[in-house]
Amino acid sequence: MLELMLLSLGLSATGAVLSLLLMRAPAAAKTAACTLGMGAAAASLASGVAAIGSPALLANLGGPVPFADLTVLFNPLSGLLVAVISVLALVAWLFGLSYFNEYYDKGIGTLGCFMNLFVASMMMVILCDNAFWFLVFFELMSLTSYMLVIVEGDEKSFKGGFLYLVMAHIGFLMIAVSFFLMASACGSLEFAAFRATAFDPALATAAFALAFFGFGAKAGIVPFHSWLPQAHPAAPSNVSALMSGGMIKIGVFGIMKVCFDLLALSGGQLGWGVLVVVIGAVSSVLGVVYALGEHDLKSLLAYHSVENIGIILLGVGTGIVGWACGNLWLAGVGLAAGLYHLVNHAMFKGLLFLGAGSVLHATGTRNMEALGGLARLMPVTAVCFLAGSLAISAIPPLNGFVSEWFTYQALIGAAMAGGIGLRVVFAFAVVALAITGALAVTCFVKAFGVTFLGKPRSDAAKAAHEVPASMRLGMVALTALCAALGLGAAWFAPVMSGIAASVLAAPAMPVAAGTALVSLDTISVTSPLLIAVLLAVVVGACALARNAANRAHGLKVDPEPWACGYAPDVHMETLASTVAAGVRGFMGPLYGIREGVNSAGAAVAGVFGRAFEAGACGQGAAPAPPSREQRVRVPLSESVMSVLRSVGAWFSRLEGGDFRTYIVYIVGALVFFLALIILVR
């Protein structure tokens, strides 16, 4: 394990250096960076897979700093993260072999260098077992990814990148304070010492809360999400895949590591789990609601990462609640559901970003309004993107369904086991997940339908062509993994349960029997494999019957759709905005929150930006990134006011006599008073 990982790091470093040295010969730099990167990813994949199945291994690598040795820890959880990121890196490099051709004049040498360093620093963050080195590599990860975000060198990428840099450092600060709190209490920077100390409950809670929000800023939880849709789309698409599929998972990994590992002896507290579940539920709903409003394909996908991080946190939070209550089934299944969704999201989000990259490569635009009709011109990309859309919408039998199924079972199981308060929290989470599911279906019908179906709406879309073989291969590989993680769930779920068990230091919960997935506490079973077989047989039979009827009675093609007697026109087609308008009509208040949060984020970045400008620091010193309405430099006071205004507007609707809000209000009041009665009694 360790040797393979060192080999991988060595290859990454060589790739970085070679790519930089060959800067003058773009093709050679690209080939060197990509092939060495692929070699590194293959080695780290082998290392990660080995770690999943082995007992924990702690190795001290010494190091130049006298006060902190570079210790690395291989355990099943870090093995899983290493394996997931390695798969994504492997595919991203493969995709890059053709995709990076566009970057010859944008500094391919530095791009290859930073991407290699980025992957290596992610590996080290996962493996590091010392607070000092953890923070060093975490910072390196943020900086290298920032360099990748601004590689396009245009105004938009600088603004997105700067917001990202500010957010990453706010997160870094919170994590650092959390680690130093623990370090000062136990007198060592080694994680092993943290692990062996039972912290004071108040200190443990403070450390957990700081780490949760700090890592949450990296993961993109609401309210720290505003950098994702601006920074991820600006990077090259395979880097976006790596960031959205891989890097933000390190935030989730950090939350799990702090809670279950570093604070293991301090014991989990119920409140932590509730906090994680509530933030997860809010993130999942708001993420998908905002995704629906996007017309930029990559921004849409970035917002979906906020949603999926929320779903992962629902599972993890349920695990924390189960752990705190001593409910082994809940802890094991909740955590396993979170881990499974973590893996799944990496796969389908990576796939979708590569698909978006292919669209960008073929047409030169990410604006869905100007696309359309690509399924005909780029069939492989279209089929892969459709598979990814079905998977992320949690439609059986693909992988998204499996992890959401376990998440639902864990949430319902938690509501069954818990008291009144927990029941309310978990009912909220279940409803949030239901809304998220239905909205995700809407959003991906929009994303796939508007981009790939209908007729081309611009010359660029008309001139699209299928992408080169290495890019197709990358997408097909991830599609196959999505299918395998769905159909083979009965074999993968026990692995996740085993990893969850190792994290909790508890016996593994049975989650599968034969080809079926089992949920013990809610007495239920399901089987994606059976559903897939039945779908293939029944749908196949229906299709054969229909085609036989077509052969017997004829099949004609009418070139134009029916337009109520008028000549069809390309302007009659449904656009992304058409879909979004409907949802906005029903969910207006939720968009109001975003305006507030975005402008607050912009204001924070603006404050830093001015400080930066004063220090006259190069290209990064862009002014505050604008929110949707191009509001540049909103003063802090005004942004706070706009949050207050939107909340106020919502409340004023209670008085305004809107019949829907009255019902919610009445039910809310009812719940409150009943809870009060029970508590008093």
Binding site: G373, A375, L386, A394, I395, P396, Y408, M416, R423, A427, V430, A438, V441, T442, F444, V445, F448, G449, L453, G454, A516, S519, T522, I523, S524, V525, T526, L530, I531, L535, V538, V539, G540, A543, R546, A549, N550, H553, K556, D558, E560, P561, W562, A563, C564, P568, M572, E573, T574, T578, V583, F586, F659, R660, I663, V664, L670, V671, L674, A675
Partner: protein, 309 residues
């Protein structure tokens, strides 16, 4: 083996009765309009006629439009096979999980709306988008009521739920009854009958998403949509009105269960048909008001569950 037979019987029953059910609904509408109306078998004739027609595909459409009618019907068939309709236990327990059923039903919705965008026609697409929005509005209420029932019965398996409701051990009872009412309302919305037929909306959208389908594909789609209505109504009957379904799988018990199931389903559909013809269409912008009401009911059932009455 007997489970397999039950599953096949359920599928055949729902698929074969679906056109009859829609034919009867048409007849009831005609009678309420004081018209003579068509034969109750008219839908069978329509389907047979469409099946023998030449199919015209819109030019922009591709694989998605081609695949949608078989996917729609096929998925409904699979859902029908898993529900505990004539016995209290699920004939195929692996298909009997609440979450599995609801997410499996998202597949036809996904394909249906996608096919609407596929043909590049503006009428079809508007219908498809409305279908999705309706799903967004009703799904939370559906899942919340089913969660209340799952908590009351201790399982998310439909068969276990049906068994504990039928043997009156689901606790607390008031919560279950209120959840039943909320679920009935949500199912009614999900069936896409007036005033919730926004996707087709004959007056505005000329049968919306179906506009570009013809011939055998249209026949399969129409059959699929009728089957969907029956499946949704059956889901309600299976979980909240399981009384009379066979508790042990003996031939006699199953026969009684079958007869009672048909009677219960007919009663539910009759009520739905009467409601459908007694109300007017609603502009789809105002749908939220009705679905909020349904969600309010679902939330109320949850409150009753929490306080245990």
């Amino acid at each position: 083996m007997i489970e397999f037979t039950v599953a096949v019987i359920q599928v055949l029953l729902l698929v074969l009765l679906a056109p009859l059910a829609s034919g009867v609904a048409r007849k009831i509408r005609a009678k309420m309009h004081t018209r003579q109306g068509t034969s109750i078998f008219q839908d069978y004739y329509d389907l047979a006629k469409l099946w023998r027609r030449c199919e015209v595909q819109p030019g922009g459409a591709g694989l998605v439009s081609r695949a949608m009618p078989p996917v729609f019907l096929g998925t409904m068939v699979i859902v029908a096979a898993g529900l505990p309709l004539i016995a209290r236990a699920c004939p195929v327990p692996l298909l009997g999980d609440v979450i599995t059923v609801l997410y499996l039903m998202a597949l036809p919705r996904f394909m249906f709306s996608l096919a609407a965008l596929d043909s590049a026609g503006s009428y079809t697409a508007v219908g498809g988008v409305r279908e999705l929005l309706l799903g967004v509005l009703v799904e939370p209420a559906l899942i919340l009521t089913l969660m209340v029932l799952a908590l009351a019965c201790g399982s998310t398996n439909l068969g276990v739920m049906a068994d504990s409701v039928a043997s009156l051990v689901a606790y607390p009872p008031v919560a279950v009854v209120v959840a039943g009412v909320a679920f009935a309302c949500a199912c009614y919305v999900e069936m896409g009958k007036l005033p919730f037929d926004v996707a087709e909306a004959e007056q505005e959208l000329q049968e919306g998403p179906l506009a570009e389908f013809s011939g055998p594909s249209l026949a399969m789609l129409k059959l699929g949509m009728s089957v969907k209505q029956l499946v949704v109504a059956s889901l309600f009957v299976a979980v909240f009105l399981p009384f009379g379904a066979a508790s042990v799988a003996t031939p006699l018990g199953l026969a009684v269960g079958l007869a009672l199931f048909v009677a219960k389903l007919a009663a539910v559909l009759l009520v739905a048909a009467v409601i459908e013809n007694a109300v007017m269409r609603v502009r789809y912008q105002f749908l939220g008001r009705y679905t909020w009401f349904v969600f309010g009911l679902a939330a109320l059932s949850f409150v009753f569950l929490v306080i245990g009455i």
